[in-house]
């Protein structure tokens, strides 16, 4: 009897869990806003986090961006050549990297690398009572643990997106000029003519939004960790999975919204 009732109430319970989760994220966002407005920003901690988040993520973001740019060019060049459009590969790759691939790939890599570290770090502090120790000493955990990570993420993400796009374009250029012997002037002319400031702005806006989401989701998982090492592990996994999925879903709606503001194809 219990199983059918449980099955019937499952959608309702899932929806309630979802609402509870949104409520908790909103509460964390509210505390973060209060922390931001307090102007006690602990710049030493922010600098340490910039090193961990920004400097430490460069290799993974550069490699991902470069090889995605290379493979995208390799695949599209062959198809474009069938129609005699191969010289426009630079323009297509550039716009795609700036608007979508650069920020999304950088975001996914940062969610995997930094989101996991944030959840594990804070989660370990939570289960070993270090978060309670902060509270006992009159320090709000959001002020000390979340705010520096948030600020560091906001500083780091634009650079990481820019690196992802730049190395993607360099790799794309290498594939066309070295791999296919296409004159570099063709590639560069089309790329520069068809990539405008709006494309770069979209990439940067997405970088900020993704950085904010990754920080909120991962820190929330860390602060909610319970049940020792098992809980920290589960929270870390959830941080990466939720951040990655939310990032992809938000990217779709953000693309539509930003396309209204900065329509594609206008120069």
């Amino acid at each position: 009897m219990d199983a059918p009732v449980g099955l019937l109430t499952l959608p309702g319970r899932t929806f309630l869990h979802f609402l509870t989760y949104l409520g908790q994220l909103s509460a964390l966002m509210r505390e973060l806003t209060i922390a931001l407005r307090s102007r006690v920003w602990r710049l030493k901690l922010v600098a340490q986090q910039i090193v961990a988040i920004g400097y430490g993520s460069q290799a993974v973001v550069i490699v991902t961006g470069a090889f995605t740019g290379a493979v995208f060019t390799f695949q599209s060049y062959a198809k474009f050549k069938e129609f005699g459009f191969e010289t426009t590969v630079g323009a297509v790759v550039s716009v795609a990297l700036c608007r979508e691939l650069g920020p999304v790939l950088a975001g996914l890599m940062v969610a995997g690398r930094v989101g996991a570290a944030m959840a594990a770090d804070i989660g370990t502090m939570k289960v070993t009572e270090q978060v309670d120790a902060l509270r006992v000493m009159g320090v709000h955990p959001v002020d000390y643990l979340v705010l520096p990570r948030f600020l560091a993420m906001m500083v780091s993400m634009p650079f990481l997106v820019a690196e992802s796009v730049s190395f993607g374009l360099i790799a794309s250029y290498m594939v066309t000029s070295v791999g296919y012997d296409m004159p570099s002037a063709w590639y560069l002319t089309h790329m520069i003519d068809h990539t405008n400031m709006e494309d770069l702005t979209i990439g940067m806006i997405k970088g900020f939004v993704f950085g904010m989401l990754i920080t909120l989701i991962s820190c929330h998982q860390g602060l909610s960790a319970e049940n020792g090492a098992v809980g920290v592990g589960a929270g870390t996994t959830r941080a990466v999975v939720i951040s990655s999925l939310v990032l992809l879903i938000v990217n779709f709606f953000l693309s539509i919204a930003l396309n209204y503001i900065f329509p594609i194809g206008t120069v």
């Binding site: 370990t124 270090q130 309670d132 006992v136 000493m137 009159g138």
Partner: protein, 261 residues
């Protein structure tokens, strides 16, 4: 129904430093605290004893606002703790320090940085003054020569002593100790007991000590409260505890179980 007691009513009533009234707390379906009433005066050391899982640490965490009661009232130094929001707790936490069971030292900081942390966060920026007070606190717990070590390279007893140094550095009026003797050898345990007595005698610190170590209880406490089935089962002096004819109390202090082989 009587109105909730105000801050002034509480302080005017007596010289109590901590007062718990009708504290109830439930985790899921399990009711941990079923109406705790307890009062502590200035300078008193209360040992909270009882079987594991009876809510001793939970009670202590209510005192410092780490947990919120389902019902009941908590007053500390005239502050109505359960009416304070998290960001309004700073004055309470300046008066009350806490030693956690595992020390809860920050892994990425040295002993010196851990102990200096509350001073730095309270806004003190005079590095010479911070250094002087850190050394003073570490000397009080006999750890002055371990300034630059990280928590991972300390023994359990040294971690607890570092935790005590961190708890006393802001000269709190009250310190809560969560199982300060657990996992320590008899000598290490005695060192911690001496620290607690020293705090009491030298600084007149009010203390609540959650412990299972009956030798400590008889050495350091001015009163003992025993939690059993979510309520205060016994409250009295160590002598009254020893003389109690209650079978639950006697079984506990003598370590007798009703499990037969």
């Amino acid at each position: 129904m009587a109105a909730a007691p105000s801050m002034s009513q509480n302080t005017a009533a007596d010289d109590s430093f901590i007062e718990l009234r009708g504290l109830h707390k439930r985790f899921g379906r399990q009711e941990i605290l079923c109406g705790i009433d307890l009062t502590l005066k200035h300078g008193e050391t209360l040992c909270l004893i009882g079987p594991s899982g009876e809510g001793k640490t939970v009670t202590m965490k209510h005192v410092i606002g780490l947990l919120r009661p389902d019902s009941g009232d908590i007053f500390v130094a005239g502050m109505h703790v359960n009416k304070l929001k998290e960001r309004e707790m700073a004055p309470l936490r300046q008066k009350v320090g806490m030693l956690f069971q595992g020390g809860a030292l920050f892994d990425r900081m040295t002993v010196e940085e851990n102990v200096a942390f509350p001073l730095w966060e309270s806004g003190l920026r005079d590095r010479a003054e911070i250094k002087r007070r850190v050394l003073e606190a570490l000397e009080a717990v006999d750890l002055a020569e371990h300034l630059h070590k990280y928590p991972t390279s300390l023994s359990g007893g040294m971690r607890k002593r570092t935790g005590i140094a961190r708890a006393i550095i802001c000269r709190s009026e009250c310190i809560l100790y969560d199982e300060p003797n657990s996992g320590l050898d008899p000598i290490g345990s005695d060192i911690i007991d001496q620290m607690i007595l020293r705090m009491q005698k030298r600084y007149g610190v009010t203390s609540i000590v959650v412990t299972h170590d009956m030798r400590s209880v008889f050495k350091i406490s001015s009163r003992v409260a025993m939690l059993y089935r979510g309520k205060i089962h016994f409250l009295g002096t160590p002598e009254q505890l020893r003389a109690s004819s209650d079978s639950v109390v006697q079984d506990f202090i003598n370590g007798r179980s009703d499990v037969t082989g």
